[in-house]
Symmetry: C2
Subunit: 252 residues, 2 copies
DNA sequence: CGGCAAATTGACTCCACTCAAAGGAGGTGG
DNA sequence: CCACCTCCTTTGAGTGGAGTCAATTTGCCG
């Protein structure tokens, strides 16, 4: 399955007009999901592949005109808002195949900023071109609506009123699932983001994340060293995510 | 392009096949925004208008198959999730022209439930028909993307890490603006939702809402009796919404 | 008038925050 | 290669904002 997938070339002079989504390793995890070969061909015509990006480089910043949506091709990004007091609020972490900038469509300008957390790469698609293409390809239009709907549902969950432990457990489960679908281990993965970013994303204090990690480690739910994390007791974690006391069971 | 698509009829005998969006008082506040007369005509073909609904009646419930999106025509609705413990989490309040059910598109089934808070009415549109129509009407497709993007941006704001006072102030400002655009007073309006619903929406306790109202009343920011509310000091309220101490000013 | 649900008010508690300080880890320059 | 700096993370101690529990009060409807 998926063999020559990643014959990626970069930078240098080779013309990079068309990008072969059809040969990208992301395949069904990305926009072309469900499209036939011909439609994928049409999509490839409007995809603009970026050079690799370093951690800390921005894809866009709040205030930038909105012209393209951004699809993560490799690495990890965070999107965030900055409020009047200059404080950062992390909105989302994006893994390969996930899309950034959806909150800008209605304003014609970005409201959030987006920065690489790691060596990363993106594909950009002119939103006008994509819209036009979607008008001719029902499956593509449907996919776009679906992606936006998914983001809405995710935010509705994240917004929920959860305890610190529950939030963190939900966060880990989400990451675990997403890595898993991308072919990585469900149990063990790297946290590309800092504790501070996780805290902001979950609307907690950095210290709270540290303490939760320490406690969960102590209770044997997981192992952490630096930013490498391994889930030892997924069931217990799931119980916490569901909002119970987290102490294994709680009949009735 | 799909003309007789959805000449939906209901219950009683009166044929009410087409609904005149063009003559609806919502006008530019609703889906047809920006469409030409002809396109509005096409849209009218797929709009299905409900009978008036009583407070407490549901438009849809979590688990229902997703077939139509719901546009509020009159009154007020709330959408909410129910978690494993049977606790309600209010996600949104919807006023005329606003759209419900966007979080269901990607699953083919509703995740949230939606109930009338007042005597209300909705229009339903088959999402398949609407998508198809949108493929022929760029402005309509664009409007759909825009509406979803708007919802995403709103959720990102609501999700933010704000104090209880700040949340409540933001909530009032949002309501005030939305009523204002619908031709009602910016200063004085009716809260169609209970304190408990407001609390759930803002992820606070009911008692906290009561206390905030009492304090703001005492400080002369607003008047409340039962569910009639009048904003007396919009500037102070705005200062609170922006996240300062709320005590008027705070240089630097 | 009586009964019920919603809202208010008070007293107390607790979870997560703030403040503070002490390790690591990584990067830079001498 | 080491010294130094800075930023990130961890841990401890104490605080406070919002929650919980409980008791009224208010408004609504039969």
């Amino acid at each position: 399955m998926k063999s020559s997938a990643t014959v990626l070339r970069f930078a240098d002079s080779t013309a990079r007009a068309k990008i072969a989504c059809s040969r990208c390793s992301l395949g069904e995890l990305c926009l072309p999901r469900g499209l036939c070969a011909q439609d994928i061909g049409a999509l490839e015509d409007i995809v603009d592949r970026s050079n690799p990006m370093q951690a800390g480089e921005h894809v866009f910043r709040a205030g930038d005109p909105f012209e393209t949506i951004t699809v993560v091709r490799a690495g990890c990004f965070k999107s965030y808002l900055v409020n009047e007091e200059g404080q950062e609020q992390v909105l989302d972490f994006a893994l390969p195949g996930e899309i950034l900038g959806l909150d800008a469509i209605h304003r014609g300008a970005h409201v959030s900023s987006c920065v690489a957390l790691d060596t990363s790469a993106v594909c950009s698609l002119s939103f006008d071109s994509l819209s036009e293409l979607a008008r001719g390809i029902p499956a593509l239009q449907s996919e776009l609506f679906s992606i936006m709907s998914h983001r809405i549902a995710d935010l509705e969950t994240v917004c929920g009123d959860h305890s610190a432990d529950q939030r963190f457990a939900l966060f880990l489960e989400s990451l675990s699932q997403r890595y898993s679908r991308r072919g990585y281990s469900t149990q063990e993965f790297t946290l590309a983001m800092s504790r501070r970013d996780i805290a902001s994303y979950l609307r907690l204090a950095t210290e709270t994340i540290s303490r939760i990690l320490a406690r969960m480690k102590e209770e044997g739910l997981l192992e952490v060293s630096r930013n490498r994390l391994r889930i030892l007791d997924a069931d217990a974690l799931h119980a916490i995510a569901l909002g119970g006391s987290g102490k294994v069971s709680e009949s009735a």
